[in-house]
Symmetry: C2
Subunit: 143 residues, 2 copies
């Protein structure tokens, strides 16, 4: 992959000194849409949902998602089929995914919080979110 970046990413969407980041119209709509969804969604699925209410270009959605990730407001996860799913950062959901049929079942426990806090301090890295996923074969596919 490795394609040239369009331009300097606007990390500085946040006015200096302001505590709340300034969001563009597109970013705001995307964030709103995501926050009203209980399930992670692909960019294209989002596009399908949003184009009815507030028409918005697919490219804008991708750009907004990138920006929101960089702001720590949105997180992502990649499915076995290569789609990227996005969700608002709040609760963290993890999954148990079957390599054969692709079914994903949620896992409620998460033992990562502690380690995350520890890393946060030890490394010079601002951590926004984490992914944790288990892969294996479900019983139906075991047969």
């Amino acid at each position: 992959m490795i394609l040239k970046k369009d331009a300097e990413n606007s990390v500085e969407a946040t006015p200096k000194g302001s505590t709340k980041p300034h969001l563009t119209a597109g970013q705001q709509s995307v964030l709103d849409a995501l926050q009203h969804q209980p399930q992670p969604l692909s960019a294209q699925a989002l596009h399908g949902l949003m184009r009815c209410q507030q028409p918005i270009g697919l490219a804008t959605i991708y750009r907004a998602l990138d920006a929101l990730k960089l702001l720590g407001l949105v997180q992502h996860r990649v499915t076995l089929t290569g789609e990227t799913l996005y969700s608002a950062v709040k609760h963290d959901h993890h999954y148990l995914t079957c390599l054969q049929c692709g079914v994903s079942v949620p896992v409620d426990t998460c033992p990562v919080k502690e380690l995350e806090a520890h890393l946060q301090g030890a490394r010079s890295f601002r951590i926004y979110y984490h992914t944790l996923e288990f892969f294996g074969v479900c019983d139906r596919c075991e047969a």
Copy 2:
């Protein structure tokens, strides 16, 4: 995505009753190649490495990697650029990845083992491996 499957996946590569799974020539070479690499590799990188020694088609490599995943011998991880990296299942390596520049630094700790064992028992799911990755912004990009 969601493309039709080529044919029935050969989950039954393992002769009934045998404890060691039978690997095809391609699968064996791919596994060997991976086991000699300290770093996770993409399918195409593997192809580059292998084509010198034992010529092998790229499609065969992808097929072998899928089969080896299903056998619990190989694990995968998807980078921010959408490449899938494969490695032999032995130690589990986890990463801290910068959403801005894409740099990944290894994390040595892993608090997941225990939960994995627990899930293994509770769910009717055979777990082969897990991914754990932290996303944020590195200090260089923070500026």
